[in-house]
Symmetry: C2
Subunit: 310 residues, 2 copies
């Protein structure tokens, strides 16, 4: 099979989009494409989650393969690498029906090696497969301000510019297949360090008898500052642990990063500790809380009842 | 002895300042007060370091006690808690000569308990002692953009406003004696988490074959962002490990935070790991490098020669 098909020409009037996965992120991202004037055919495991998209004009399809049969560019954003594998490489997966010249874009945070495998299988069929995980959370997905980290064929990535622009504020091609996934795991490794620091620092401040809001005034805007501190610190102080970003998804991401690191013979002791602490967070019943629930687990380790603190 | 003397009235025309310690931070901070029109009497262990201040009009004194004899408000910013103790509580220390109604301000990052001890000893003599460590580095000290974290008598802290304004962009009273030190240790705990995350993330990115500058474009401005990433990440990538902020001073600060945490029965596993990693940084000969030299030690653990990488 010859490589790299001609990059698609993207136009709301003619380009048929497919969308697989309508979770918190996917539903908002697809909605932005619909709002930008694109047609889309949608599949998701729980049909009711797609209803807002159908109400906005999307077509329903009964499987990834059925989505793909009606589409030129197919996006997926699902749960775990095993879901990505099934959606794209499974018997009723996208590659079973997508025509040569089509494009696959997986936006799930998933294994870099799986992205490489899908890209290779796609190339066999004259299809370009792109990995494009995102950062920016539900808020960024709704507002179209995501950071999209992209791996795959350069010309194809460039050709999809109008679609990236509809979903993200920042989109950067990081390299060939898998590079988007690697960049996302870099992103999550950063967040892990920041979260441990924020939780331990605020816990220290509490035990030292400081007023936490007053402490934030001193430390938020200087050399100790971070997005995590400015955005999640106040929620921790308020005792509001609603997700944002689920603990169980962050655990998945850290697991992927550590798995890759092992494969690369790389020791990441800070991330490994962070992941262990998040296992404690999940074990304490907070798997479906926001990532800032790390505070609850760290507090409990030292016998502090964070939610009942004076 | 009665408590809380009348807060001083600060005026460049009449207030006599004392300044003890002319290291990288202290020299710049005192220079800002001189530039704001204040008179100052200066002592530092190595007289040559004070020369720029003397050239700018400051008077030299031969000891902390001699500084204090000529001053109404005396600042100190020295190295370690033992230096703070000697400067203020020693035989030739400030408290041996400062008159009732005077004010001591220690801006060293030091033990909260020592700040409490000095404040109590000062109060016996009708002197207010304030702890006011800073964040913002040499750049912030020069530009007068420091964050000053303050503990001590409320009226006295308020009365010193013109002096805080000359040195800092943000100054916040965190509570009574020691609270400024606690807030600074909160600040350093945050930085520890951020630094571990930044180094491990960039090391991962390198091993994964990503272009590091391109990765920064994806991860710097979103949920993974931090001051450490934006300001020190590029220096790590460039292989420039000049201080900024010395590894050996950061080790001191983390040691203080962990010592306090032990005293408070508080487990800070992330900070403890970070401190251990920084001991490795120092052991590898980087005690006088910038804190971002953590990258060199983490790379070496996994057999990556960061400075010779392709």
């Amino acid at each position: 099979m010859t490589a790299a098909a001609v990059p698609p020409s993207i136009d709301p009037a003619t380009t048929r989009l497919g969308w697989i996965g309508a979770g918190v992120m996917g539903a908002s991202m697809c909605a932005r494409l619909l709002a930008a004037g694109y047609r889309a055919t949608v599949f998701t495991r729980t049909r009711s989650k797609a209803q807002p998209l159908l109400d906005a004009g999307a077509q329903w399809a009964e499987s990834p393969a059925a989505v793909t049969a009606a589409s030129d560019v197919v996006f997926s954003i699902v749960g775990y690498p095993r879901d990505v594998r099934e959606v794209h490489l499974g018997d009723a997966g996208t590659l079973s029906t997508l025509a040569a010249g089509g494009v696959l874009v997986d936006m799930t945070t998933s294994q870099p090696a799986l992205a490489v495998e899908i890209a290779a299988a796609a190339e066999e069929k004259g299809i370009a497969a792109i990995d494009a995980p995102v950062s920016g959370g539900d808020v960024g997905a709704k507002a179209g301000t995501l950071s999209i980290m992209i791996g795959g064929d350069e010309a194809t990535v460039a050709a999809l510019a109008p679609l990236w622009d509809a979903m993200g504020k920042t989109w950067v091609r990081q390299g060939g297949p898998g590079a988007g996934q690697h960049a996302k795991l870099v992103n999550q490794t950063l967040i892990g360090g920041n979260m441990v620091g924020v939780c331990e620092a605020l816990l220290y401040a509490h035990r030292a008898g400081l007023d936490l809001d007053t402490v934030l005034k001193s430390v938020s805007s200087g050399a100790a500052g971070s997005w995590s501190l400015s955005n999640l610190g106040p929620r921790m102080i308020a005792g509001d642990f609603a997700p944002g970003f689920y603990v169980e998804h962050f655990l998945k991401d850290m697991g992927l990063a550590l798995e890759e690191a092992r494969r690369m013979n790389l020791a990441l002791p800070g991330l490994a500790l962070c992941e262990q602490l998040y296992h404690a967070v999940a074990a304490q019943g907070h798997a479906r809380s926001g990532t800032h629930a790390l505070m609850l687990a760290l507090a409990q380790i030292s016998g502090v009842d964070w939610q009942q603190r004076a």
